[in-house]
Symmetry: C2
Subunit: 239 residues, 2 copies
DNA sequence: GCCGATTTGTCCGTATGTATC
DNA sequence: CGATACATACGGACAAATCGG
């Protein structure tokens, strides 16, 4: 990011994760940090608010800004921020690859429109992909992309990374993602596509993603094998 | 809330939900809203940033602030903000009640400490409760409360509402909640306590909650029957 | 293509309120 | 009570993106 407040956020976050500021200790006061970063009061406060929203600190009026972050022990697959499949795998040190199961251009009928939130008649790419990690088929993704927002999509691109295509080549910026997690019974397609072992259910993440122009350009259903699924979230009151 | 920015946020949110500002339309410009609410542009911008974090709007530089919120069709149980069981039931129009299955004071051993994030030796209340909705046992809650932060807890209080006790009587303010969703095989306890039908798995929400003093005072494991579980989340890039 | 008006994004400085110690 | 630290609010300045003439 190019902004000062975001740089400060990242720096403070790294200093917490590196252990310079320990769990249940106070970071330097606002005045000291303003001095150190040579920025204004307001800019520093914006960085602190991001730090708080991410669950790193708890500012306490009259006392200071307390660190409430500890290194996490859990491994596996963690969602919660907007992150690509490739990024998440790399962060967890996993060998991963993607296979494309189908690729089609469709017009949304009433059923698809209802399911995805697109309008009837919208031209969409419908893509089915399977995510393999350490040799096992663990995630079955069904994507619907709005053609007008993501023109020129090809099977080769979706096998690589759609996000690096849209953010890199097209220059679109991803902004907001609304997600819903549910548990569903495994379908026969799930059983065919995934290495489900004896599991009879899957975790389904439905996500609707908007770009920085406010265009809803993607709805995805991610169907996960239960034992390999984790969803993480930080909620803050008053924001 | 007592603050101006929060009042403005709530007002704008309500105006969007009531349909005054429609999906994919622009709300009035910053200058107009500053005029209308008689506040400074910074205060208004703070309200807008909260609106954005909740997935209501997408501000677009040079154009305006676009509404990206639509009424949701899904019913059932929706999480995603910090919300009590009673609040969530009321919002969904459900008849609900809670039964207390066990209530004990314990000291955290290494196993409990590992599981909950408390320190070995911490004095805790351990509470097991079952949430019934429309006559069916759907959620099995196992709570661990830090005794020093929530003194004087009784079975009668936990049967009613712990949050109204701690926020009302004790005067504690809840601030941050870190949550993890996983899918687990149903245990024999799950089967005994819940009306599981033929489901063999449960959705488990682990949440660690901090108060406004930065004290981690609660860890809860909420075990849900799959068909009655929904978790909702809005993620925004750059925050 | 340029210019100016409009609108959001970032940053700064200051003042005042509130909680803690 | 005074000093410290965070919380809220105001007003001003300039940058960046968009749009219409």
């Amino acid at each position: 990011m190019k902004s000062i407040y975001y740089d400060i956020f990242e720096d403070l976050r790294d200093r917490i994760e590196d252990g310079e500021f320990a769990y249940q200790s106070y970071i330097p006061s606002e005045a000291q940090l303003v001095e150190e970063y040579e920025c204004s009061h307001n800019t520093l406060r914006k960085a602190l608010s991001i730090l708080r929203l991410h669950g790193y600190v708890q500012p306490i009026q009259g006392k200071g800004v307390l660190v409430i972050w500890k290194p996490d022990t859990f491994a596996h697959f963690v969602l919660g921020d907007i992150e690509t499949f490739a990024e998440a795998c790399e962060r967890n040190g996993l060998k991963a690859y993607t296979t494309v199961r189908s690729f089609a251009q469709i017009a949304a009928d009433s059923h698809v429109a209802e399911m995805t939130g697109f309008a009837v008649g919208d031209h969409l790419y419908r893509v089915e992909r399977v995510r393999h990690m350490n040799g096992a088929a663990l995630i079955y993704d069904i994507n619907y992309f709005l053609e007008s927002a993501v023109p020129g999509l090809t099977p080769a691109i979706v096998e690589d990374s759609v996000y690096s295509y849209v953010e890199g080549t097209i220059g679109m910026r991803i902004s907001t993602s609304k997600r819903t997690v549910k548990i569903e019974r495994a379908t026969s397609a799930d059983r065919m596509v995934l290495d489900l072992l004896d599991y009879s259910m899957v975790a389904v993440v439905k996500s609707q993603t908007f770009n920085s122009d406010g265009v809803h350009f993607e709805t995805t259903f991610s169907r996960h094998r239960p034992d390999f699924f984790t969803f993480h979230d930080t909620a803050v009151r008053g924001y």
